[in-house]
């Protein structure tokens, strides 16, 4: 009964404070549940994306002596589709075209059933000629100078070669997994797929290689390629477990006659790593927000502490015991938590639907319940800590005299005396240093093992920095206000003129309150700044990733063997929506026995045209190294691996074997090693070289262009790509960055964080407004009597403003400055700790100035509104304040 009366009284007489406290709880609940919705959405997307990137789910290899048909029937029972694929080693290929004969080393000849391309459409990509019949891989075609219609001779160990007529040229986008050594551990896998590959129809393959299978069974092997049901759990971890269990099960069933190459499992394994990264992102981005919301709630509740103490004292005089007081406080906390949780979950469901396309808080029903329930429990804990704990503490320990105290004689808080801020900062530096030693490997996902772990220890670095910097801001503010009169007076003078000494004295004596408020603003600003900078950097790197994959807004890749020159770029430049076109030569060059991609670039334009990043190079900036390349015509940039393998030093001569455009023979071309390139648009990572296009053209007698990189200058890449496709027809492949962005790997960079970013940034703005405006307004409201007394003593509006503006400016400006510095340091640390999220790692932070300006503007506006309202209220209703309080 007393409880009901108490709650009714709270709702009737102090609805504002009740609402403000519930709002704090609601923000925390909504933030946590929104991130739950994001995780649910992103995890489901990750499984879906991972599955989409796999062309062949399983490659089950029949072991020597085993009957392939037994393996096929075993796999068929588990898979949606299972087809037998044959592979044979060839001793070499040979072709005679235009009067010259080209030969290659050993290669692989694959036999595919008729329905293979229909069932596994992602394995083969057509480049030229027919879709069926004898298909030759692009690189092999280039090596042999063959085109559809030409004949090649296929060598067989111990048997005479067989001639086949090429019907089409194809690309094998997933050659690495297609030609994997099934069952071999990662380290024992071939470094590169075979250079020479021919695909034959199954019947032709059998006609060609059955004899070889009989005489040299070691030269031939058989695989079953399978597609599984993709009705997998949304959570990639669960999907991985299901698929890998199934793979182990089939291996047991095959009893040693077949080994499973679990491509789907491997991809899901990477995806579960990404899922854990998403979880880490949650910890980095969500938990501080929830902590801030909790601190805000506690601050709001604390700003009404005096009134609460008076109410408690009144209840005690009427006979209430400590347990009664605590029960009442708990009841109030439960009501606040209930209102906050319902509102927060409602907001989160709305945010989830609008931003992530789901109103659920988890990937499965159980996780949804856990997220929603967990968020609500956090709300209850925040409410209990903010409301019930102080009430319990006061009820137990406070005397009547103590209850009257509102300022207290200066004594630094216990944490300050014990140097907790310095300890936290030192701890942060130590953890950062320790975790940086392993290269910031936050998520540990050993290949092939079901166990996956996150190095949560590394998260302690930024967490300790955030808390330590917040407390340090508190200490600095406290010390500034502690300096006897001089500093507070100086701080107050611009706003209070002749009253500066008095205002300075009030600020000095309220230094605990003001320093705490400043620290809260600093923590909120740091949260907003670091989140925004991290998100912006992440976004920028996603763009870089997509650009690396696609090369440019639109990339026009010429068919192998074509002799399109840079002049064709002029024609592309006329397509509506095209801003500029950059030609890029592409050749294959032998470095010793390694075949690598060689790109010939125009050094004067390539940096701007492809937005080259410094992170793509080692030992210099992108601009610096490319301009050095421009100054030395025979200069070359190579991969770090090549430098290591060939013990290169700057200036060393590197002799490459390149195909001469006139003779079609390999010819030796000398280059001089200049530096290291690790990434380049369209290039494979770590196995390519960059040289001057003019030098390559002169030494090989061919200025053929491999690809044109098209800058659309802000026009829609897919639209421009469509127009270019209409112009070039089937002579070249046209890809655009928007489409690439959607299919870029399974890395977390591919996860669309824009929804989470929007939510995070909106919450950060709300928290910033609350930390400044709401906290100041409530603090001022609690001191209404003080302002009313000042008015009764004759304080004019301007003089009251002196008190209010001095405090508001100190708290806001100090908090924003401290927060900006902390946010910047945090963002630097976050990006380093989360290096694994970025691909490639950023060279520098990207700063969203507009957003930060909005945060500052919102904070300052909230303070102005709070201050003006306080001054107006104190001036207009001093009598009411004097009567009420």
């Amino acid at each position: 009964m007393l409880g009901l009366t108490w709650i009714r009284g709270a709702v009737t007489h102090r609805p504002g404070r009740l609402f403000a406290t519930a709002t704090g709880v609601a923000i925390a609940v909504a933030l946590l549940a929104s991130i739950g919705a994001f995780l649910a959405g992103s995890k489901a997307t990750m499984t879906h994306r991972a599955v989409q990137t796999v062309s062949v789910d399983w490659q089950v290899e029949a072991q020597p002596g085993a009957d392939p048909s037994t393996v096929l029937s075993a796999v068929t029972s588990r898979a949606q589709v299972a087809l037998q694929v044959e592979l044979a080693q060839t001793t070499g290929l040979q072709a005679t075209t235009a009067g010259s004969t080209q030969s290659t080393g050993p290669g692989v000849v694959v036999g595919l059933p008729d329905t293979y391309r229909q069932e596994f459409p992602g394995v083969i990509r057509d480049l030229a000629g027919a879709r069926s019949g004898v298909l030759i891989a692009q690189q092999t075609a280039a090596n042999l100078h063959v085109a559809p219609g030409d004949t090649i001779s296929v060598g067989r160990a111990g048997l005479p070669p067989v001639d086949v007529r090429v019907d089409g040229v194809v690309d094998l986008p997933q050659a690495d997994s297609f030609f994997q050594k099934v069952g071999a551990p990662v380290g024992a896998q071939p470094q590169a797929p075979p250079d020479n590959v021919i695909l034959l129809p199954a019947n032709l393959w059998h006609a060609t290689f059955d004899l070889l299978a009989a005489s040299r069974p070691d030269q031939v092997h058989s695989q079953v390629h399978a597609r599984l049901s993709h009705a997998l759990p949304a959570d990639p971890s669960a999907a991985y477990t299901q698929v890998s269990r199934s793979a182990r099960n089939i291996e047991v069933k095959l009893a040693g006659t077949g080994l499973v190459g679990d491509n789907l499992g491997a991809t899901l394994s990477a995806a579960r790593g990404d899922a854990l990264y998403a979880q880490v992102l949650f910890l980095f981005l969500g938990v501080p927000g929830a902590v801030l919301a909790g601190l805000l709630t506690a601050t709001v509740a604390a700003s009404g502490a005096d009134r609460r103490r008076r109410e408690q004292a009144l209840l005690r005089t009427r006979g209430a015991t400590t347990s009664t007081l605590v029960r009442l406080a708990l009841l109030e906390a439960a009501v606040v938590a209930g209102i906050g949780a319902v509102a927060g979950l409602g907001v989160a469901a709305m945010v989830g639907r609008l931003s992530f396309g789901t109103a659920s808080f988890g990937a499965t029903t159980t996780t949804a319940i856990v997220w929603a329930g967990g968020a609500a429990i956090v709300g209850l804990v925040i409410s209990a800590v903010a409301l019930a704990l102080p009430a319990w503490r006061d009820a137990r320990s406070l005397t009547v005299v103590g209850a009257r105290r509102v300022v207290g004689r200066a004594r630094a808080p216990r944490w300050m005396r014990s140097g907790a801020d310095f300890a936290l900062l030192a701890g942060s530096a130590l953890v950062f240093w320790l975790t940086s030693r392993n290269g910031y490997q936050l998520v540990l996902a050993p290949e092939g093992t079901p166990a996956i772990s996150v190095s949560y220890w590394a998260l302690a670095g930024p967490a300790l920095l955030w808390a330590g910097a917040g407390l340090l801001a508190w200490r600095v503010a406290y010390l500034l206000l502690s300096v006897r009169r001089a500093v507070p007076r100086t701080l107050a003078r611009p706003f209070s003129g002749r009253l500066a000494s008095t205002v300075g004295a009030t600020m000095g004596r309220q230094r605990r309150l003001l320093a705490g408020a400043l620290a809260l603003v600093a923590l909120t600003t740091a949260f907003a700044t670091s989140t925004a900078v991290f998100n912006q950097t992440y976004k920028a790197q996603s763009e870089v990733d997509a650009r690396l994959t696609n090369g440019a807004d639109v990339t026009v890749t010429e068919a192998p063997g074509s002799s399109v020159t840079a002049a064709a770029g002029t024609r592309l430049a006329t397509v509506p929506g095209v801003k500029s076109v950059e030609p890029l030569q592409h050749r294959y060059a032998y470095v010793g026995a390694d075949l690598q991609d060689l790109y010939g670039v125009r050094t004067s334009t390539i940096v701007a045209a492809t937005k080259l990043q410094d992170a793509y190079f080692q030992g210099g900036t992108a601009r610096g190294l490319i301009s050095r390349l421009g100054r030395q015509p025979d200069g070359i940039l190579v991969s770090a691996e090549t430098v290591k393998d060939f013990q290169l030093r700057p200036g060393d001569t590197l002799r490459l074997r390149l195909q001469d455009g006139r003779t079609k023979q390999l010819t030796e071309v000398p280059f001089h090693y200049l530096g290291v390139a690790t990434e380049f648009p369209t290039a494979p990572r770590d196995s390519f070289m960059l040289a001057n296009a003019g030098y390559v053209a002169r030494t090989t007698g061919s200025s053929a262009i491999g690809a044109f990189l098209v800058d659309t200058g802000g026009n829609s890449p897919p639209a421009v790509a469509a127009k270019i496709r209409a112009q070039v027809g089937t002579s070249a492949t046209v890809t655009d960055i928007t489409t690439s962005r959607k299919v870029v790997g399974s890395s977390l960079t591919a996860v669309d964080l824009s929804g989470l970013t929007r939510v995070e940034l909106a919450f950060a703005v709300a928290l910033a407004a609350a930390a400044t405006g709401l906290v100041l307004a409530l603090g001022f409201a609690e001191r209404r009597r003080t302002f009313a007394i000042a008015t009764a003593l004759g304080a004019k509006r301007r003089q009251l403003g002196g008190f209010v503006w001095s405090e508001a400016a100190f708290v806001t400006a100090g908090g924003l400055v401290a927060g900006a510095f902390t946010g910047w340091a945090l963002a630097e640390m976050l990006v380093k700790v989360l290096t694994g999220v970025f691909d490639p790692p950023p060279a520098a932070l990207s700063v969203p100035w507009v957003y930060l300006a909005i945060v500052a503007a919102v904070s300052v506006s909230a303070v102005i509104v709070a201050a003006v309202a306080t001054i107006r209220r104190a001036q207009h209703a001093p009598i009411t304040a004097l009567r009420d309080l």
């Binding site: 009257r404 105290r405 509102v406 300022v407 207290g408 004689r409 002749r498 009253l499 000494s501 008095t502 004295a505 009030t506 600020m507 004596r509 309220q510 003080t786 007394i789 000042a790 008015t791 009764a792 003593l793 004759g794 304080a795 004019k796 003089q799 001093p878 009598i879 004097l882 009567r883």
Partner: protein, 234 residues
């Protein structure tokens, strides 16, 4: 003595709120306060005493009737200035020490901080409170706090000293002491003293007595005969 009263009220009324929820706190109050007056405004809680005092202090505006301060000036210049007010309950600013609290109205009135502090010390010294000069309000007892509030009024050297229930939260001994201090302060500055109270013992200490009941003011004598020395209980 001035030929004009310090305060003149004519059919003064104050209503809070409007419509059916309107509360008439004071109506039809006509009175004058003259220099040297020692006046108690008596009445039970909620009768309208404080409302009348706030109107006299210029802290509130009437909803009907008129109030002027013929010998004191315009409302805007009353505080800080010729009118000083001692409020009901704790009225010291918590973050200021005793000296700063006493000096505050002077600083608000534009007096240099050093000069204001000097005057504050003199006022505290006069009332025997100088030992409390550097204390914070939370370190004072109720009686001490109220005496400091009186010192704050005294430091302003006002011509009209208003005290709203200055002893409302004090026991009788301390209340008597506070009234002594008030009378001494008024005597020292030559200010008229008006005290609102519901305590007859306090009223007895003052020369004249008005009563307020249900918002209606009754004067002990005609406003044009201000100098009769007669206690409230007489």
């Amino acid at each position: 003595m001035s030929a004009e009263p310090l305060v003149r009220c004519d059919q003064l009324a104050r209503t809070y709120g409007s419509g059916r929820s309107a509360v008439v706190a004071l109506h039809g109050a006509t009175c004058e306060i003259w220099a040297g007056d020692r006046l108690a405004i008596m009445g039970p809680s909620g009768s309208g005493k404080s409302t009348l005092l706030h109107l006299i202090a210029g802290l509130d505006t009437p909803t009907a009737g008129s109030i002027t301060w013929p010998a004191l000036g315009q409302r805007a210049s009353l505080r800080p200035g010729p009118v000083a007010l001692v409020l009901q309950g704790p009225s010291l600013l918590p973050p200021l020490d005793v000296t700063e609290n006493v000096a505050l109205p002077l600083v608000l009135g534009g007096i240099d901080i050093n000069q204001a502090n000097e005057r504050a010390h003199r006022a505290l010294d006069r009332l025997g409170l100088i030992t409390l000069a550097s204390k914070l309000p939370e370190e004072l007892s109720g009686g001490q706090a109220q005496r400091v509030a009186i010192a704050r009024a005294l430091a302003q050297e006002p011509r009209l000293l208003l005290a709203d229930e200055p002893t409302g939260q004090l026991d009788h001994t301390i209340a008597a002491d506070v009234i002594d201090v008030l009378l001494e302060a008024a005597g020292h500055t030559g200010a008229a003293l008006v005290v609102s109270t519901h305590d007859p013992a306090v009223g007895d200490r003052l020369a004249r007595c008005w009563t307020v009941a249900d918002g209606r003011l009754s004067l002990d004598q005609a406003p044009d005969a201000p100098h009769q020395e007669e206690p409230c209980s007489a």
